[in-house]
Symmetry: D3
Subunit: 337 residues, 6 copies
């Protein structure tokens, strides 16, 4: 990875996340913990934490809460030189962790945010992409506003023109837009995408692809359908199974070169669900950037996202060594001392 | 439910609960979290949180800790206009949460409390019950003191005279009185009770009813025996099974119209055990008040109490929508976003 | 004060206030404390805490943060039956307390709030004002949006038609609107106002009244000018003097019946500045409602607001006895025991 | 000071103190901080912290909260071997710190405590006092209950019989008993007292001694009157002056050998008032035990209690070196580094 | 157990443990919780908590952090009269709790600590061991430094000469020394040991004993090999099985009189792993000191260490009654009330 | 200021600071707050916070606590690319804030730190200083170890050779070395220094310069003596006066071009003393870098350090706008809203 040049550029909204402590409810918590988060920012942090270089492109207001977001990105090694200042408000989201049969809850409060007002022409993509190898965005970015959707398209075109690999994580959010609207906006953007990360359920819901309800072939069929419809070079599908808020089974499949590569599955006791999918995507990008074979890459990415289920906050705060130790087989849960 | 008139009136003691944070022990915690609680107050809060109206009748001292208890009830929508001020001290209880093989522990400190000194004649029941449909109390209320037992009897007589449905939750507390003494005091009060909530174990221990030690017929036999002995219109029995502090299996049975209706059973990872039984009772009352069929009602009540196992504090802080979502089948534990 | 009927009705926005703990800065605090606040809500809480009855009229979103605001009002005894549910977001404000030469800072985040979308016709004023004696609003309410300004006018007209006393606290916020715009919007509303609360500085800045820069006659001149221009029955002006964030000198003057009544002045070490002015206004209304003479009323109001400088949070959490003890002369600072 | 033998024995009640954090009020604090405290326990801790040996005699319940109190005493070096286990409840007190014009508030909750039930015959004074040089108690101890008053008398008689010096700190608590009742109970016990610590105000209020309202002779006159009435060998009077909760002027006078010795006065910004008087008394005893001259002793004792005003909690947590550094003249407030 | 004389003496280093709260990572936690810990100190606390008497021998710096360590030992009833003051720094260790597939992590910071400089001749063993019955140390003590190893040998020789039973817990720490170095230093000390506590894995790794990789005979073979090689009177081996940070299966075997005694096994949800092995060792010593039969002793010791897995902090904070309740069969996880 | 090139390079040790919360003592605090700090790092953060660019040169261990320090620097915009990884431990310091007559206390724990082992040859100064304009160090850096002193000399020589301005802040620490030793080590390094920041008291104590004990000429005489002895281009002396821990009077003088320029003096209520001197030095450098006249520069620097007295933590977290607002005259302490 070349010094001073980002391996990865991502575009999206970074929000302040306001989380009730422990398992407290919104109506009872005396304080909210403040951490940063956002699907693309999380991917950028993962690349930086593992030792790569990443630049995050966004727009934040020129006040202390905007600065807080920039500071948190810098803290974990993400490049912030391309971030614009302007607008009135930070995107916020409020999170209440679930427990057992009670699911976690999110209240988004991002309408009218500084990023939602970003528009084509605000960023100098030629400069931003100079020397970069990969551009990543998620379905949330164009979902934030019409101008953000146009901005996403602009960035995709520029990235492809400059020879970057483009990855896309569908990240459908029902509180942001309907499945139909998401499908309409996203479909035309798929032409610019090399790697698509999603789930069988999302592929069916947003793009209307015919996918079996269940069964061992579900992911393979969905991935093939995505590839066929949109011509993706690679498709990665995550697989989650669980009934309660604090336990999940987690794995993934990477379709690459016409081959489906399945990761092992982990039974996870969850500390914090949010950001686990982004950690998968980020780690997959990291693995592909460094040239891992598909099987190695998907194994690595699932290990990283397994760790992320145990981290408080959106940001993936673990090291390359920790991911690789889990790939190798773990510690039997003991404290290393 | 009629505006300005309570659906439900409950009588009992509200305490301040002082809980060590996390899993800390009494001897080590630097602070105790302060929340309100009490079996009947918890039932009143549940009715109010689900959208009904409830009035809580008690006596608290005329100082800021008494006011704190009133404030907490108001906060969650319970009527407090009938609460008397007087006496010297709030009932308190200290709680240390358990973990795995270590059970939770309670130290009661309620002797001499303002409520324990309440006595017949203190409350104007005709005014309190005006327009109300249901009166609820638990076995703790008469267990607090002799005058509280007399007060409970007075309230029961008045409630029946005014045509209210009366429910009773046995709630045996070994730290309050012996099984024998509880049986002696409670038995004569049973004549006023329409709905009795208890467990097979309590029915046997307190009323000396013959109940099989285990087996599929245990609850049915216990419920029939209770009905036979006391003439209850309905009997609800909760069923708990578990070996450790943080996991339980939980379900219930409602005997109504000679039929035993069993709920589904939930495997629960527990955040806070206290108040889960009260949530069952409150939700059962709520369901019966709105006219649910027995099977629907017991299913609903078990869903509510399952949620309550995941809530910090005695008070049942969830909404009707959340209970109904769990009745419908849950979210797979995912964060709704 | 008549049971079941509010002495006071207020109209305004209640916000969630997110405060950094201690003297921490926005960029460093790991969590924000969550408390409710808003100029008119603070007045309503004061009336309720002192033993009066108050109804707060607003609009909050139908989600848990909106419910949180309602719960906090109920907790401290304010009537919430007239609150509408709708819209998408709660008004928020972020607060960083100052210290010594570093002033406190506020970041407002209330654009697009549920209340800012409230409009004439949303509320049934005849029903709301039935039995009430006093209507209070502040300059923030019409400053929130054009529809809120129209709503304020509607409420004023209704209140006067129904014979209520109307009070107004100027509460100029530079982050909300310019002095000029505030003057334009507020001036026509002044015809409905009986009691105006402001400061000499605001009177000059917003209404362009000629007021001496300093000197013993400053407040008297300003009050007379206000009365002359707008025909107010009473004018109250607060007087603050200080150079640092944690100390202030504080007093007030009430012009009533052509007489200027000055309060004693207090040298205060400040815990939390926000809400102190609202406490003055609320306590003045309380005193006038119960028929205090002007001199007594202004003394009482300044004592209450002095106490409020020592309370964490916007809400005035103290009792009538505490205010009266301070009026009588205080405790020498000793712990009562 | 002889190893294994206490220099000082004290008798009294240790309570758990439940304090709202920061300047929060009882009605708003989400948690209460848990620390131990009690006038005589505070004196014992001071002796132990400065390097002496002290034994604390009391009775606590045989549960974890009683153990907590014993643990806290052990932690700071106080002997606990003579503490009895029994009874049902710990004495508690709730504390809300004041600020500026708002005084701190205490809610006592000690009725029916384990110690209030202690009675003559419970303790083996001969064994307890073996090798000890000094016995200390305060006016709170006999004020707790009639049996505690009888126990105090028993201990005084035994102490004098065994040749110990006996000190007494009046510590009048209006929430415990009336001035008249205190005077009646305490007066006969004064015959056993060698050193009396009080204030001019208490001397007048409780014993009805004629003391000037103010003026430079107030303390001297009060001390002489006390000596004359009760025949004390030494009388120490503390002098506090202040108008607000967080500032005080603080000094003392020691009448010894017919001479009045005045300490310097300190202007103190207060962290926590509670325990400051006990620190004075404890430090005075410490100084006299080691043979300080009266002037040195009163200077030392005022320095110690000045430090105690800056310590969170009742217990005097500072070292001999720190007291002596303040006696020598302080550090100019700088951090030693 | 004889009053004033310790049942048990232990020698080792007590450290301050700085733990991130909850599951937070070192790079994100705003504060670290401060608790004491150390293998031998933990054993001493266990003996004292269960009602025995224990003396802890170490060296701490003469500053407040050293005093903090002494205070924490005193708090929980451990004798501290033999602790030396000197040196510059406290041993520290930083702990980050694991979760699910993420193992806990420790950063030791004990080089150059006050204890690491302790050396033969610093302690008067004859005085220290006077009246004592048992001397315990772990493999960490000689691993800290060369002088500490020599000091350990000196203490062992003295203890045997004075007729004490000597126990040893291998406690291999890879971050302290290599397996080879540990074996070299420890082997000659084994001649003084009566009871050896370790695991099959450690026996093989450190002493190079031939032990089967798995299977039912693994522990028996390892214990026999240890006895044969070193002539131990008793050998106890703990057995842990698990794949994740928050769950473990836990049991033990005691070889005594040629017989292998196996405890039941517990499936544990873990609050804090650190100190669980020390609790086993301490409870085994306690049981043997009071004369339990081997089967009873190992059952008791595993129950105690099962409880310790649920306690925050190194120190074993539970009572004899709690251990015995778990031995008898537990509470079904219910709150006792 | 040139993009990508640091205005300022500093060399020194960054430590983790472990602070008791509020005014708690080391022996009582349940947790320690974790923040970064160090005289030179604080200067670098100030430059970056005000909008300049700064590079911090140090050596930290290759573990998570080392990474934490790097992260905190990055967070606030300081360049960290030149930081070496190696060694075993982070420098630590423990801080207890003072209050009133109780001074704050520091326990240093930096012996054997990663930085103390740094030595000449470890850093490529030519690369590090490329494009930079200013090199800053303080007397702590050479005081840490002999190799650090040699490294400091190496850096000074390189800086001067490359044409950088060199500033030096004496920062004498009695816990690090004696005055005599400091004088011996520092004196030869003064030849490389252009701007010397210290106090009259330090100048006298460390360099033995003849300085009047007090009086208006004290600083002027001291500064002239420093200039004469060492040939500094500029000398800045800070002036602190105060008797208690939480209040200070604060000002400074800058001798430049033979003229003494005095700042205004501020009466400050202190939140946190540590780092205030570094903020003065950093702000003075910032002002001189941008070409401020001496009088402007010293006024600006004192305003910045006044603000820093109100900030929790070593790092100067405020903006250029805030400093300039204070220079202009402040806000009267009001919240801007």
């Amino acid at each position: 990875m070349v010094a001073g040049m980002p391996d990865l550029v991502t575009l999206g909204e970074i929000m302040l996340r306001l989380t009730t402590p422990g398992q407290q409810r919104f109506v009872q918590a005396p304080h909210f913990e403040v951490t940063p988060g956002g699907a693309e920012a999380n991917v950028a942090v993962l690349i930086a934490q593992l030792g790569g270089s990443a630049e995050f492109v966004t727009r934040v207001p020129a006040h202390d809460l905007g600065q807080r977001a920039v500071d948190e990105l810098r803290r974990y090694g993400v490049g912030t030189r391309q971030i614009l200042r302007g607008g009135e408000r930070m995107g916020l989201y409020f999170l209440e962790q679930g427990a057992s049969q009670r699911p976690g809850r999110v209240i988004y409060d991002r309408a009218g945010s500084a990023f939602s007002e970003a528009k084509p022409g605000d960023f100098d993509w030629e400069k931003i992409f100079a020397g970069a190898r990969w551009f990543h965005w998620s379905g949330i970015t164009p979902g934030v506003s019409e101008s953000a959707a146009a901005l996403t398209a602009e960035a995709c075109v520029a990235a492809k023109a400059l020879g970057l690999t483009v990855s896309f994580d569908l990240n459908y959010r029902a509180k942001l837009w309907s499945r139909e609207r998401a499908g309409e906006v996203l479909a035309p953007l798929m032409a610019h995408v090399d790697l698509c990360v999603t789930s069988a359920e999302e592929a069916q819901g947003v793009f209307g692809l015919p996918v079996p309800e269940s069964g061992p072939e579900r992911e393979r069929v969905a991935a093939e359908a995505l590839r066929e419809r949109f011509g993706f070079g690679r498709v990665a599908l995550t697989m989650r199974r669980g009934e309660v808020a604090d336990r999940t089974e987690w794995g993934a499949m990477l379709l690459s070169g016409g081959q489906a590569h399945f990761s092992p599955r982990h039974e996870i006791t969850i500390v914090d669900r949010v950001g686990a999918g982004d950690a998968f995507t980020g780690a997959l990008i990291f693995a592909l950037l460094r040239g891992d074979a598909p099987q190695t890459a998907v194994h690595f990415a699932v290990a990283a996202s397994t760790l992320q289920h145990t981290i408080s906050g959106d940001f993936p705060l673990f090291t390359l060594e920790e991911v690789e130790a889990l790939v190798r087989g773990g510690s039997g849960g003991r404290v290393a001392r």
